[in-house]
Symmetry: D2
Subunit: 342 residues, 4 copies
């Protein structure tokens, strides 16, 4: 079987999580997230945030996005997203299916800036004939593996607050973002600067699970109804609670992300020695080298990965993703293969 760099959910679950599930298996617990583990896990997240945020566990990223967005917007309000945003490209119109338009904005690096939002607002002045922009959707790390600097996120946050916009961060790979060697942001900052975000478990060692965190008190209201109505409330909520408890304890969550980042950086550093160009600088666990198609074909015989974007007739960008479980060996094998074919 070929080794896969396709994504960070090809792997199983971190052993500590399975052990915790086994250990806490045979007691009776209240359902629907009222179990002791979920409560303790939420406390732990809030401790890191130094806040008293509302926290809800759901099973996946698309689910988190559609629940948050449909719960917070009025029917005629819409979302602003970078054109690379996951909600625009990989969620089968899940947001629109809840009734809300997403306005797509072209960016260089997958990151939204105040100037992008200003342009959208200026273009949406014909009331009531146009949707009303209300929620700014960003990802960190982004779908291109890039991350927000502290000043970038601070500026965007202030802009949103001053303009009555909700700032929502998709954190499917927030662990990787915050564990980047160039990251200036902590979980505390994320709580401080966003209105809502989610902390992704699925792509960082969990069986499944994302933690939705609502920081802005104005948005505290009956959120559990929205989760239940959209089919996101797990009966055995303990399954999510136990996992997040394990991931948050001793910062396992950040350790796992760091391993993924380190392996990606190795791949990137190696490729740079050959003067290979990238779609975006590698700072988390996604690597987007631009390679000759013949090289891509050769590599594809031994490795799985996505061809991300055609560059020209001879070259394409591929996407390599590393994970909490990517071994030194896998990275070395890939490097050896590269050396052979290049």
């Amino acid at each position: 079987m070929k080794y896969s760099f396709k994504n960070d959910y090809s792997e199983g679950y971190h052993p500590a999580i399975l052990e915790a599930l086994m250990k806490h298996n045979l007691d009776q617990q209240l359902g629907y997230g009222e179990d002791v583990y979920s409560k303790e896990a939420k406390k732990l997240v809030n401790k890191k945030l130094q806040r008293d945020s509302q926290i809800y566990f759901v099973s996946g990223g698309t689910q988190a996005n559609l629940i948050v967005i449909s719960a917070l917007l009025k029917p005629y309000q819409c979302v602003i997203s970078a054109a690379t945003g996951h909600i625009l490209n990989n969620e089968t119109g899940a947001i629109e299916a809840t009734g809300h338009k997403i306005i797509s904005v072209e960016t260089e690096d997958g990151k939204l800036k105040a100037e992008h939002i200003i342009a959208v607002l200026e273009n949406h002045q014909n009331k009531p004939h146009q949707v009303m922009p209300k929620l700014v959707y960003i990802s960190n790390s982004t779908e291109l593996g890039t991350i927000y600097s502290k000043s970038e996120l601070t500026e965007l946050s202030h802009f949103c607050r001053n303009n009555g916009l909700i700032l929502y961060m998709d954190g499917a790979r927030l662990g990787h973002g915050l564990s980047s060697h160039i990251s200036e942001l902590s979980l505390f900052d994320i709580g401080n600067l966003t209105d809502v975000f989610y902390l992704g478990g699925t792509k960082n060692g969990a069986l499944l699970g994302e933690a939705i965190v609502i920081n802005n008190e104005i948005l505290f209201e009956d959120f559990a109804f929205s989760i239940k109505q959209k089919g996101g409330l797990l009966a055995k909520g303990r399954l999510l609670g136990i996992q997040f408890l394990e991931l948050m304890k001793n910062d396992l969550y950040f350790e796992l992300a760091k391993n993924a980042n380190v392996q990606a950086l190795k791949l990137s550093d190696f490729l740079k020695t050959y003067n290979i160009q990238f779609l975006a600088e590698t700072v988390t666990n996604q690597v987007f080298p631009i390679l000759d198609n013949s090289l891509i074909d050769a590599l594809a015989e031994n490795f799985e990965f996505y061809i991300w974007k055609k560059i020209n007739d001879e070259q394409s960008a591929i996407r390599l993703i590393t994970s909490w479980n990517t071994s030194d060996q896998a990275v070395e094998d890939f490097i050896e293969a590269m050396k052979k074919y290049i």
Copy 2:
């Protein structure tokens, strides 16, 4: 801590399932249900069905219901359900949130019959001013713990086919229904007589998970898009595949349900010796005895359960649910307590 008879999801997961998760943890698998375990589990279900049905795993019952119903109906079509139906009472309007009305029908025992449907059809002739009834939603076992006899389900199935209606069975407790000591139906029959059903894992030993089974070929179409759009497609689909593989192998699924039923029957048999009346005869894992309020108060000091329905000023019906993990000891303790207080 009080022993809980509140529901069948207070428990953890069957040990065999956790062991299987551990055993298959460290290989890489394709995401989104394309893993080898999911494929094998589907084959196993189809083998029991002696069909080539389309099978999809999702994480919970409300999710299964809303995905199936919204995928199969046109915007102006609606659902017919017994007034006791889970979709009417316990899913926060999840079906209506996808745009579809549910017509509620009063029944004696939670079961729909052709005559109920006929009455609804006769009342919906004012076209196009009324919704168009199109999907018949039934549960087996029902929310009252009752089950369909073979002739009842056959008659309903034929009626639906002759009238262009889709017959959909909510199988949150299908294991318990089919494992009842009075059941005349097998999984093969369910595949044969319904257009769509789901096989519940959450309430029968799994961590989470329900298997949606589409039997009617006319309804085979692009169902995966609907799952993804509603946030129901797990990235690490292996989690569901491994569990259903384990549950289906050697009929663990039916064994677990049988234990729950046996323990419920013990409770029921004991209560009958005191001439206690029931909301419905106990044939699966739900017991609905009608008790004096003073007795209920006394029992509530040591056990958790739901007060289901006020009968009169002195008496109420309670609901006791047993599970795959309910021990002889728990049942005996309850019986002892009853003896003491009665």
Copy 3:
């Protein structure tokens, strides 16, 4: 052609309205309700209300209902309606299509009372597993032609305010309700006691058009977006403005309704001389006599009307509706026919 008592929209438009349209036809006006006629008409309604309500004109009753309800509710909130409510029976699931459940309440006379609402609230305490009741939908006159007394509406209004519920009145036949010989309510009272209502034009002499009136300032927000998004914003809004201006001037609106009521009362008074029973007392423009089926068949040869409800094998209730344009002659002809066949 048979004379029709089927409904109040079989007729054309009141001549004064057509004349006004002709008179104001050839000036240029702003679109989308910003024309001078719409503005003046709104002022006139507000003058009668002695309020500063927000007023919007839309083209029909189903449209008014679905726009108001979907604009005011959060996705998980629902509506309470009498089982006879128009939104439950004659709008093809329009409300559910916007995502909201309607809870149906059996009543004797089509009118909701606080006690009905209390029972619903008590039955919806299982949070977040049930929808949240939030909006009380009533009709005046009701679908049975009955009307609210001042004390009934006052009590209901206070109950709703004390319980955080929105009180919304469907006024498709509000003119008829307020013009009833037993009515104790004025337009001023309706503004005072409801949060939102609409004033029906279609069934009272207009070509089309209903005026949505929002009295509760808390609900003042961006309503025009909702109208536009649901396809209810007419480009040539003057069409609605001119009509309501004409209807409101000199109380033409109430005069027209009064004629309909008077004709209905004549029918009812005549039928009473034969000791005929009614589904409901006739106080507006709907008459529901219970007649022998043979008599119904005989009448149907010369008149159009709906058979409303089977009473038993020999008898049914029919519905006779009179309008602003029902002539003395038409009523006399019907009475003569009755005399002949009875």
Copy 4:
């Protein structure tokens, strides 16, 4: 009051229409489009189409668009539209509010070509993670006033048929499109080449009203339910029937559009004598000259029009719209003003 070139719905209604309404005012008619006028008007449209299409009258363009699109698509299917499409820019997210994404395509002239669609299809191969493109939305004339040539529409139509796509034409200004001096298409061609289109009345002399025409028999199904559910079924359907009857009789519809086009062409021809550039060639009733901002300011003192697009710091494009009722005098006045300020 300034003369307005802002749009084609500032005017009232063509006198012949008001006369017809008056003439047919006092008979009784069936409601909801079952009146004799609606039936006759549909026959007349079908005669011109030489087809037996299904025809439904609704009150406005946004309503027509949202009803057609939501009725024809499954929840996970989406629309392809030129970036200039009315549904993308001026309908407050009405389409998304029914659950469907619109994919926006940049074009030069507001017209979609097969090559645009091919690119979209190629970009939507990641099943089921992306929405499924299914309906192609075009406007004729377009939002830039341009029209499809016969070969362009034929090619697009064939492409859609060969690829299982529905071709839907927004005909808010179809009269203007077909009456253009360069048009090669007739109403017959439109029926032949599209699956569905609508024939706009509001912008061409009616009080309100658009005729939805379904040509493709595969799409014939229960459409009236969709209209009713979305609040688009007028009780007094005669209002729409009488108008379309009048517009279709003796081709009044095309005559009115022609006048609008002729006046626009006069404006355009005049502007060309000054070597003024346009956003698009004037072939229908929309003129988009690019003018110096100082000139625009001067003109704005006497005329109403939209500033459509900033070109650079000195120049902008404005939009001038003429209508069935634009007089020679109004055009001459504008030309005189231009001469004065230029």
